[in-house]
Symmetry: C2
Subunit: 627 residues, 2 copies
């Protein structure tokens, strides 16, 4: 098998691959993030690259113009490496922002700095406990292992302990070298306290955890202090698995062909990069991070652990596990303290994951007498309706448009992202994050712009541009776009715009979510009026304009006072579990008492989805405020 | 560092060692078992070998005659390899019997074939449970992991389960390939049920365990059927660690110098050889052995797991652990099912181990209203006195004489071992195991012969031969011996005899044990009359002559009706734990409620020991029956 060397510019990164490897795999191997969306099926046409030197076998794609083909442009996913190559990656192909620039998660951390619950005693899943053991005497010559366990249980309350052979073996020396004054790191495994580590002296003041929300499109990580229960910092990035498909289904197909190892490596790499960035930025030693608590949809949960996914996407849709045991984080390649634990929170079914159980926990649906609707806006839009009597959850495939992906100028909420679009004095105005030079549009801006275009009659109810309605509608390659920020070469401003195709993606996304809400309320024999409270969740930074969300028909027209944007409830719920062992048991109860409703099995889901493919909806009666 | 090749005859085994390695280490590396007792300190003089070719650096030892030195005889422990060697090992140096010939443990297994306790439901520590899971449907699409755990808990009763990532990962494929009919192997870890293995079909009819008693001198293994709770077979061997010292203290010193790895390897090798022999002899596949349950003294327990022992032998005598967690047996090198568990039972202190907690469990001392004395005769003689109100345990260093070691013609209870010596028609007679040609004397025979010699006035109360008392007293190299079986070259009979030095070793052993009993009763303010029941335990096969044990003063003169020989209670207790999970919790309670009494800290122990260095005792008043 011959081997080829591929050099990528402008990164100047070299990789060696086997002949006939796809160029997409070579890019992945080079750790270069690109905007690819379709997962390597030649559909999205966004993995364009220029072959500067060397031989490739490239399929012809309708996504390329003749001019591009002449200039050596190929789609990486449809090109095989046949010899040593020099490849130029155009700027538009590259993923637009880096982790270090992401402000979304960071802004969100202000949402709630410290989580202090009155009902529970703070008991982090992994604790550091300083112990001053009584040195042994002839009268008290209890063995080292039992001496430590007894002292620990006395300090943290009645517990069953567990300790690995290696730690037991190290005790005689550690205890005596440190005059029997040591710090035990104690992690919860089921109802057993694992003494994961014992070190000399008092190191109990340094104990950090990382809370991760693994979205299909976005991975968010919060660094928290397990002693003060404060959030120190937060970062987010696009999920690198996007290279193998923007929907989890495509990624699962990829995993079935090639094993789930590749997808696992990518999510672990993302998590490691987020953790390293967070630790470096805050002067925290990776060895002081003792736990990672992860929530996410079931497919992501499976990829994280390298579990097989074929039965998730096939009838009758069965997960490998919805509640994996705590593992050594190092076992899956997470680079923190080598003894640290990785907690995967429990999910509900093959299609409703731990991000939702965490969301239920965070919003306390399971404690309330009246009915709450929780809508988690993500690539999978999950809908939960319930009270303390019963909870039902469903999942709809919305696509990533509302997260700023699959939109031409979409970006994550970094500096310069248009986060808000509004009408002032009859004019369409916008504001950017950090008042930066506008570079693209993030999720909240996308909802706003579609709403504003509708209100200003620039698009019609099907999302198409209305001829001559605005002089800012332009056409390029036959595709219409609305220019929000015009190009200005002097100011080095690139244009920021939204295309008809982008708007179609937004409509598809909101229709999938709305139809899910509709079907669920119908099945439960509820009217929208019966819903006492609507929580709108998502990794949207600080804001989402609720009026605009109703305007485009993302959520039903319910009195605004009942609706609240609650941010990333997946992270919040996971944080509560990380800080309170009782919440760890509570979330398992929530998993058991929540019923999964399968929308794919609902005959009328597609019908409701089609009805919602208008702005706000085919049946405008349902949306009083904008009738 | 130059390397030397050493060939041992008659085994024709070759090993390569570094120059300057001791010849004893070379023998160990060649896996040749020898009769060495002192642990390589040049004291016992039993590791004699003949250097046939090659260069050695040998110290001169008073244990060698000039003749021997001229003939190239060296003590292996005091000889360093300086070049390639050819070594002849004399027959008397070799360990006398092989595992396959050992009958002691085998005979003992008849002692109690099946252990059925009325008070507990049979629940082996490792169970195989056949499960016919309901295949998933849209209505019941519980994940594979949770489906299996729920079905299991339903079948075995309420439980918290634990499953490793590798097993979870294998479930989708195993379940579907086997139509959801699988056998789960479930092991107890604390109060959690670990699903250790899941395999297709119904394999629940094959589940075996090995119960091991790790004595300082003797290692006994019983192969048991975890379904019928029957003992299938039993084997024993001398503990190969003997090469590094007959007492655990010497071995601990060795471990401190060179790490506990070497000692661990030897005990694991013994256990593996016993298991392989048992499995082969009974047509059992090693992969169907799912657990090993070990009891033994604390030092052996530490060596088994490779734990450091320095603090056991140093003031204030602290063990690394008295209750190690269950481990994967493969983790320490035990070659059975790779997922099988190794249970080390809980001991009491650095000097009273799990053989004694197992003995208490087996004899039910902890359940009785009246007072029981349990004497476990081994290289460490342990004494337990107690009732359901309180239990006290002590350990005395007796040496291995009563186990047939450190006695010139001593051997384990194999075919041909003199197991009984008695007076008939005024004559000293004997019987051998299996009526075989007499080859040596085992433990019970040693107690008998000393008693008989005393009764016949052939030895005096200090254990010395009485001049002209018998024509069977011979002298060789100035050492007196009593010939039990004379040499008969025609019949190819080697002489079997007992020396004055052997008798001294026996007296030392019994004195250590008697003094322990004495001190403990004194401290508890008891008279021998207060003891309602005496259990005499030990790996002695079927019998020990209680009259003779009293005659030599091994145990106090207590009405014979109160005394019972109960065999190997360590194995029996371990078996009860292996079969009954409730006993697993019970033995942990016994550990907690038993007080260790340190004889070394007792000012009057040495005094009592010295008083007992007579037959039966200095104070003959205490021994009415033979006054």
């Amino acid at each position: 098998m011959s081997v080829c060397r591929v050099i990528f510019y402008p990164q100047n990164k070299k990789v060696t691959v086997k002949k006939s490897t796809s160029l997409l795999d070579a890019v992945s191997k080079a750790h270069i993030s690109i905007n690819n969306l379709c997962g390597g099926d030649g559909i999205c046409g966004r993995c364009k690259m220029v072959v500067k030197e060397g031989e490739v076998a490239a399929e012809v794609s309708p996504k390329l113009t003749r001019e591009e083909i002449k200039n050596g442009v190929v789609l990486a996913c449809m090109t095989r490496v046949e010899g040593d190559l020099v490849i130029q990656i155009p700027e538009e192909t590259l993923a637009k922002e880096k982790i270090s620039a992401d402000l979304d998660a960071e802004r969100f951390k202000d949402f709630e700095q410290t989580i202090l619950l009155e009902e529970f005693e703070p008991t982090p899943l992994v604790r550091k406990v300083y112990l001053e053991l009584e040195p042994p005497t002839l009268v008290n010559n209890t063995a080292d292992h039992e001496r430590l366990c007894e002292a620990l249980c006395k300090k943290i309350g009645d517990c069953e302990t567990q300790m690995g052979l290696k730690i037991i073996k190290s005790l005689p020396s550690i205890l005596r070298r440190n005059k029997f004054q040591v710090t035990a790191t104690v992690g919860l495994r089921g109802h057993v306290a694992e003494i994961m580590n014992v070190e000399g002296g008092n190191t109990a003041d340094k104990n950090y955890m990382v809370i991760v929300d693994m979205g299909t499109t976005t991975v968010v990580a919060h660094l928290v202090d397990a002693i003060s229960l404060k959030t120190i910092d937060a970062k987010a990035c696009f999920n690198s698995q996007g290279i193998y498909g923007r929907e989890v289904t495509r990624r699962m197909i990829h995993a079935e062909r090639r094993g789930s190892g590749e997808l696992q490596k990518l999510i672990i790499r993302d998590i490691n990069r987020l953790i390293t960035t967070l630790a470096n930025a805050n002067g925290i030693n990776l060895k002081d991070i003792t736990a990672v608590v992860c929530a996410g949809n079931p497919a992501m949960g499976h990829f994280l652990l390298g579990l097989p996914t074929p039965n998730i996407r096939r009838y009758p849709y069965v997960a490998n596990t919805v509640h994996p045991p705590p593992l050594r984080a190092a076992q899956v390649g997470i680079e923190i303290n080598p003894r640290a634990l990785l907690y995967s929170l429990p999910g509900i079914s093959a299609w409703v994951g731990s991000d939702i159980t965490a969301g239920i926990l965070a919003t306390k649906i399971h404690e309330r007498d009246d009915i709450t609707l929780l809508v988690d806006i993500g690539t999978n839009g999950e809908t939960v309706i319930g009270s303390k009597e019963w909870i039902v959850a469903a999942s709809a495939s919305a696509g990533p448009a509302l997260e700023g992906a699959s939109v031409a100028c979409g970006m994550r909420a970094a500096r310069g992202a248009v986060e808000s679009v509004y009408i002032e004095d009859g004019e369409i105005k916008y504001s950017t994050i950090g008042n930066g030079t506008p570079k693209g549009i993030c999720g909240s801006g996308i909802i706003d712009i579609v709403s504003v275009l509708l209100k200003k009659n620039i698009i019609d109810r099907s999302g198409l541009f209305i001829e001559s309605s605005s002089d800012r509608i332009m056409s390029e390659n036959g595709l219409k776009r609305f220019i929000l920020v015009p190009e200005d070469k002097e100011k080095n401003l690139k244009p920021v715009y939204i295309t008809e195709s982008d708007i179609e993606n937004v409509i598809t996304a909101k229709a999938a979510i709305f139809a899910a809400i509709k079907i669920l309320t119908m099945r439960l024999d509820l009217n929208f009026e019966d819903i006492e409270r609507v929580y709108l969740a998502g990794a949207f930074g600080k804001r989402i304009d609720i009026d605009n969300a109703i305007t485009i028909g993302l959520i039903p027209s319910i009195p605004k006072i009942k609706i609240q944007f609650v941010g990333n409830t997946s992270i919040r719920g996971a944080k509560i579990v990380a800080f309170y062992q009782q919440a760890f048991y509570k979330i398992a109860e929530i998993r058991n008492s929540t019923t999964y409703y399968d929308l794919m099995g609902a005959d009328d889901y597609v019908e409701e989805f089609k009805k919602a493919l208008f702005l706000p909806h085919t049946d405008i009666e349902q949306f009083q405020p904008i009738k």
